[in-house]
Amino acid sequence: MVKYVDHVQVVKRMNGRLVVNKMFKIVFLLATLFALAALGVLVYRMFDQGWGYLSADFITNFASRFPEKAGIKAALIGSMWLMVVVAPISLLLGVGTAIYLEEYAKQNRLNDFIRMNISNLAGVPSIVFGLLGLTIFVRSLALGKSVLAAGLTMSLLILPVIIVAAQEAIRAVPKELREASYGMGATKWQTILKVVLPSAVPGILTGSILALSRAVGETAPLVVLGIPVIVHFLPNGILSEFTALPMQIFDWAKRPQEEFQYVAAAGILVLMTFLVILNSIAVFIRNKFQNRY
């Protein structure tokens, strides 16, 4: 019988192949570690530059021309005001849309178009949302550079993210639970309100908080809206002018004096702390309320 495979040869070449395998494993590992290293260097730099400028005064002072007197109070409170507007609007619209798409929408062209539209909206650059907000909210509706104008713009920006997160959470509710509810004579809306939504709430909240933290860190739309940076007052309502953390940081980072670099770094530390707190809440909700279906 003719043998096509020469096993002696195969074994000889096997060693080489295994060495190549080992080498590439190391290459892939290094590529992965690059991401870790980048994060490490970034965080280290921010602490290195900003830690010295982080003080109680920095949190409680308003902005200033002098780096040693500059504070972040207006921006920090402004960002919180922004969240107060963005959270309810984006949640209401996002969850409403998700319920419509998952529970009511039939397979037809209109609904396909809505779905397609949402996935495309998610890919529109944030600065373009700024142009939309500038035209519609700041000018046409004459809301000015207010918390409301910025909040509406940011709500639309993170809407696709919340919709997708809510859709996934709703889809994860097993159909057996819906059947059980219908089987008891519950109507569709009763089933959604009493069975589907309560089971989906942890997933919806986790996704929404992550989306909110994106809204807190976004700068470009605020720049386009013309949100001011030197603000010496706190907003007294949603129609008040305000500034926000990333705007303040952007302004400091642009300044030529070297000291302002450190102020900017300190501002970044405040922003990152804000985001870490938000994300911890999201992780906590995910772990605490995870359903075991």
């Binding site: 192949r17 190549v20 590439f24 494993k25 290459v27 892939f28 590529a31 992965t32 690059f34 991401a35 870790l36 994060l39 970034l42 730099r45 921010m46 209401l92 619209l93 409403g96 849309t97 319920i99 419509y100 009511y104 929408a105 178009f113 809505i114 539209n117 949402i118 495309n120 909206l121 890919g123 529109v124 650059p125 944030s126 600065i127 373009v128 700024g130 142009l131 939309l132 035209t135 000018r139 639309l156 809407l159 696709p160 809306w189 994106r214 807190v216 860190g217 470009a220 720049v223 386009v224 990333p246 940081i249 952007f250 980072a253 900017a264 770094a265 970044i268 922003l271 985001l275 994300n279």
Partner: protein
Amino acid sequence: MVMKQPAEKLSVQELIAQSRSKRSKKVVEKIMPILLFITALISVLTTFGIVFTLIFETIEFFTKVSVIDFLFGTEWLPFSGKEPMYGILPLILGTLKVTFIAVLVAVPLGIAAAIFLSEYASDRTRRLIKPVLEVLAGIPTIVYGFFALTFVTPVLQEIIPGLKIFNALSPGIVVGIMILPMIASLSEDAMTSVPNAMREGALALGSTKLEVAIKIVLPAALSGILASVVLAVSRAIGETMIVSLAGGATPKFDFNVTDSIQTMTAYIVQVSTGDAGYGTTIYYSIYSVGFTLFLFTLLMNLLAHFISKRFREEY
């Protein structure tokens, strides 16, 4: 509920019949889908709002500047008082320079990391590394921009002596770091959804893990990986704060990456932070640039959609 008789005389069915408020129930059942449909329409309205805003203001812009000059002009000098020039090619080229460098950084690293995570890493390592990628993806771009300006550029200047403070290289690299997690995690998703049976088949023939990854998993997950790259490119094109802080404000029509540039997004930021009045040509120019940017990203998103739909693997 007032109950005249003691409970034991009543059956539940009778209680139900008593308390049934059929009409309000019916109204709610009819109204809710309509209300929810209206919320769903908001997202459609947003898209229309964006498209119409951009189109109307761009038309306004073209009453002042010729379309030909805009599309084919190689000089972008809106602030030159006597003879402003509005040729968008330098801005597009600036954007493409940054995007190209970002892709050079992010695609090999991202795919390599995806291969490591899906083919080599143990469950524990994966659980350790994936959150880091998530954190990296969650860092605001303003922070990346600051990092590019105050860390990456000085470091690069040590290595490349002629490098200007504002250049394409530093923001390009940092945009690459920013889109890396996106490519890595989307590609990893595509690879992990390749069924294990295919891997086992190849391993049982004596393949090494590398051969399985390159010859079996990569081709099978190719469409997912391609889609992730296209989406990342779209993100890089629209990226604003990194290029505004570290890229500069001098649009140039050349292929030099060590000199100051300006991208489409950075131009919009420059005008927005300046004091160009409402109704000036400069004011309208940001919409024409925004519209061009929107078309670029829309094209990329549709392409990604097409790739993942057209080449979806049926396992």
